[in-house]
């Protein structure tokens, strides 16, 4: 089960054992080995980002990592990304789908209660998911659920989701951090009535959230500490200082440049694990000069990935291969030969393209801190191949409005997406509004649609492999690296493991860790 994608043979019902079932052994041997048994008790302080005085506990208003951490401290979703990025059931126990993967039935876990004592039924689940749907929805998950045509209860302990087309990713979609389950009819979320590991004690928007253990929590082997305090600390130096002084146990989003110092300090260490974020150089394939494949390849071979990762990200990341599917994704195509800095090949393609002008690269540090450094490094390595690059530092205000998607050669930035399908549909499908390389291939679109509905894992992986090869060989994105998620921990914190795309153990850190000195 571990690490396996749960593609289900047609019509068979599978009972999923979650990460909370004992005996799921870590195959990759992370540094944070499982201790014999978690210590109970104590109070853990987590510092994270993305808080504001205007925050609420309405799942529709979740926009940041910090909001997600709050959400998973208080609530649960139907499914969960667990250890080794395995998808397991959370409030859903098992699921099955129709032969064409259009209709999905989820069996709900029985005996789950909300903090208020009310039992959870299918009515609550339908209401919770529908919060994010519909014309008037302003939820961040609206786009994610746009493929759903109907959600209906099927008795008190099951729901049926009907998609507008075949989609094998429905269980993955339901693990999204917006889709927390609340009691049906909830309109005021201040009371924070969820089913999760901790109950709300006090919420000061933008400052802190304090919660205590839910004594009736349904999940075994989770929620080890008695109290959780989530602090919103926007300034990375303040987060780091608080971690060093012991005021904070876990600090998210550390500065790569300070990782060496933090690891050298006593009593603290850094957990850096592959994330999905990447920083492409975007070439517009539908116009000169980048409508010429040889020039695109000249740029891709001019990129010194190792140097960029080293100097821009302090080495905290993994080398990427000009496609956007990150190494931990089950559909990552690891066997595509790694493209590396090769001035001779770059020269060859440059000559073949006939281009002898100067490439204007538009960038700004608003894209990510280090974007301008990355552009300068690319300019230098490209010069070794005889490719002249001029860096245009665009104003940061309005960069996404006026430069991105508009200029021919732009420094871009992507965070993760829930699934390979969503990443490719958002940025590489011919008619996608955010197709920021303006790369249009009808054969790609057709394969992408086929992959979405394919429920056989091996077959599906083969299609995604082809799609990544297409982007790698022909696409307009030169992608040097995937960045790591970097969390700082006190050494007393045990049980941490990376999970999925997001930092802080997929934002679920508060129910997964314990304190050694509790």
């Amino acid at each position: 089960m571990s690490g396996q994608y749960t593609g289900l043979p047609l019509g068979r019902r599978t009972l999923l054992k979650g990460a909370f079932a004992a005996g799921l052994v870590s195959a990759t041997g992370f540094a944070s080995a499982r201790a014999a048994s978690p210590k109970k008790g104590g109070k853990i302080v987590i510092a994270t980002i993305g808080g504001a005085a205007s925050d609420t506990l309405d799942p529709r208003t979740i926009t940041s990592i910090g909001h997600g951490v709050m959400g998973f401290t208080l609530g649960n979703c139907l499914t969960e990304i667990g250890r080794n990025n395995a998808l397991v059931g959370e409030l859903a126990e098992s699921w099955e789908h129709s032969a064409n993967a259009t209709v999905w039935k989820f069996q709900l876990r029985k005996g789950v209660t909300f903090h208020s004592g009310k039992s959870m039924t299918s009515e609550d689940v339908v209401y919770s998911l529908n919060l994010h749907r519909g014309e008037a929805s302003t939820s961040g998950a609206k786009g994610l659920l746009s493929g759903i045509s109907d959600i209906a209860a099927d008795g008190p302990n099951a729901i049926v989701i009907t998609m507008s087309g075949p989609n094998a990713d429905v269980p993955q979609l339901l693990s999204d951090f917006h889709l927390l389950i609340v009691p049906a009819g909830t309109t005021d979320f201040a009371a924070a009535d969820f089913t999760g590991p901790y109950k709300l004690q006090r919420f000061e928007p933008g400052d802190r959230l304090h919660a205590v253990r839910n004594p009736n929590y349904w999940k075994a082997d989770a929620a080890h500490v008695d109290e959780v305090e989530i602090l919103f600390v926007a300034d990375v130096t303040a987060r780091t200082s608080g971690l060093l002084t012991g005021e904070i146990h876990i600090a998210g989003r550390m500065d790569p440049k300070s990782v060496g110092l933090v690891n050298a300090a006593p009593g603290v260490h850094v957990e850096a694990h592959p994330g999905p974020g990447h920083r492409p150089l975007l070439m517009a394939c539908d116009r000169a000069p980048f409508d010429n494949l040889d020039l695109r390849l000249a740029v891709k071979y001019s990129l010194d990935r190792v140097e960029i990762l080293d100097k821009v990200m302090a080495g905290l990341g993994s080398i990427a291969n000009d496609h956007p599917i990150p190494p931990f994704d089950p559909f990552h195509a690891a066997d595509i030969p790694q493209r590396s800095f090769d001035p001779d090949k770059a020269k060859f393609h440059l000559k073949k393209s006939g281009f002898d002008g100067v490439l204007p690269l538009s960038t700004s540090n608003v894209v990510f801190s280090g974007a301008e450094t990355m552009a300068a490094l690319f300019q230098q390595s490209a010069a070794k191949a005889g490719l002249k690059v001029e860096i245009i530092r665009e104003p940061s205000d309005g960069f996404w409005k006026n430069v991105w998607l508009k200029k021919p050669f732009v420094g871009g930035s992507w965070g993760g997406r829930a699934t390979a399908d969503i990443m490719l549909s958002t940025a590489y499908k011919s008619d996608a509004p955010w197709n920021d390389t303006h790369w249009k291939r009808a054969d790609f679109d057709a394969k992408l649609a086929a992959a979405r509905g394919e429920t056989d894992f091996a077959k599906r992986k083969a299609i995604y492999h082809d799609l990544q090869v297409m982007i790698h060989e022909d696409g307009g994105a030169a992608i040097p690296f995937f960045n790591n998620n970097v969390d700082g921990l006190r050494d007393t914190v045990k049980g941490y493991y990376p999970s999925g795309a997001y930092e802080l153990s997929g934002m679920r850190v508060s129910e997964r860790v314990w304190l050694d000195d509790a």
Binding site: A53, S54, S137, T138, S139, K142, L231, A238, T245, K401
Partner: protein
């Protein structure tokens, strides 16, 4: 005293006009920033339809002047309105944070003002001697260092190295005054150091500029000691500029805490305003801007009034 009655209402009116202008400037400033609250809330997942729906919901689709007038009407009737992002009362959001910021400023002022005026007088008294040189070198160094740098230095030495003070300045309801002072020691110290340097330099300059006046020379020629010359002859005439300096210092303390609050993650007005600007939450930005501007205007007015009261020539015009 009667002459005061004229100027003070005039100043009050000018102050009100200033605040009105400030409110327009703040509003226009946030209007010309790209993006609005709907973009900020929906972030990377914003579809054009979702943005439009949210704008309509928040009333952001109405013309800017209409939104401004609605807000102004509310303020004139004592209603600061509701936060666009959370729907909570702005006054409720601001009240606790304003108190925290004022506490920070008050403690810093209580340390900085006596210290800086004392040092300024000392430096003037021992002009060009080692004491003056020493004070000047230290304060000039502090003036030259940006406040966040001083903050970070204090943080790394006093909090991280020695562990005397917390790195994050957090106040809770259950703290005693002593615990509160301990929690905010570092931001207060940072502010005090920054402000002391400025105020001391200005005090020294004010006293020394009076010292170059002919009547001081006369006093010296009559054989008065330097100390007597400064404290009895020069200081009364230097009081007026010094009071202005103190008022400006206070204003800076209240308004200049934004950076220090960020460094120590202190939850005051500064952070609230930065959050609100990032979210384009207009009612909060407007309210914070108005409050900061009011503090400035009132302190400036007080400085003017005190300047008149402490200046015999302006008190008893011929």
């Amino acid at each position: 005293m009667r002459q005061l009655i004229g100027p003070v209402p005039r100043r009050l009116l000018a102050g009100v006009a200033t605040l009105f202008l400030v409110s327009i400037i703040v509003f226009v400033g946030t209007e010309i920033l790209p993006g609005d609250l709907a973009d900020a809330i929906l972030g990377q997942q914003a579809t054009p339809e979702a943005v439009a729906a949210l704008r309509e919901q928040l009333g952001l689709d109405r013309p800017a002047y209409q939104r401004y007038l609605d807000w102004l009407g509310g303020v004139l009737t004592g209603d600061l309105g509701r936060s666009l992002a959370s729907g909570r009362e702005v006054s409720e959001l601001i009240s606790g944070r304003l108190e925290r910021s004022l506490l920070l400023a008050a403690v810093a002022a209580a340390i900085a003002i006596p210290l800086s005026i004392g040092l300024g007088l000392l430096a003037a008294l021992y002009e060009d001697r080692p004491a003056d040189k020493g004070i000047s070198i230290v304060t000039l160094a502090l003036v030259s260092a940006p406040d966040f740098l001083i903050g970070y230095l204090l943080l790394s030495v006093l909090a991280v190295q020695f562990g005397w003070f917390p790195a994050l300045s957090r106040l809770t309801d259950t703290m005693s005054l002593g615990q509160q002072l301990h929690a905010i020691a570092l931001p207060c110290l940072t502010l005090s150091l920054v402000v002391t340097a400025h105020t001391m330099r200005l005090t020294r300059t004010a006293v020394l500029s009076v010292m170059n006046q002919p009547y001081v020379e006369m006093a010296e020629l009559k054989g008065a000691s330097r100390r007597r010359v400064i404290l009895h002859h020069a200081l009364p005439n230097a009081l007026s500029p010094i009071i202005s300096i103190v008022m400006l210092t206070l204003a800076y303390l209240v308004v200049g805490i934004v950076v220090v609050e960020a460094v120590f993650n202190y939850s005051g007005m500064g952070r609230l305003m930065v959050d609100a600007v990032a979210k384009r939450d207009m009612p909060i930005v407007q309210a914070c801007g108005l409050i900061f501007a009011s503090i400035y205007v009132v302190l400036n007015m007080l400085a003017d009034v005190f300047a008149i009261l402490t200046n015999p020539r302006r008190r008893r015009p011929k």
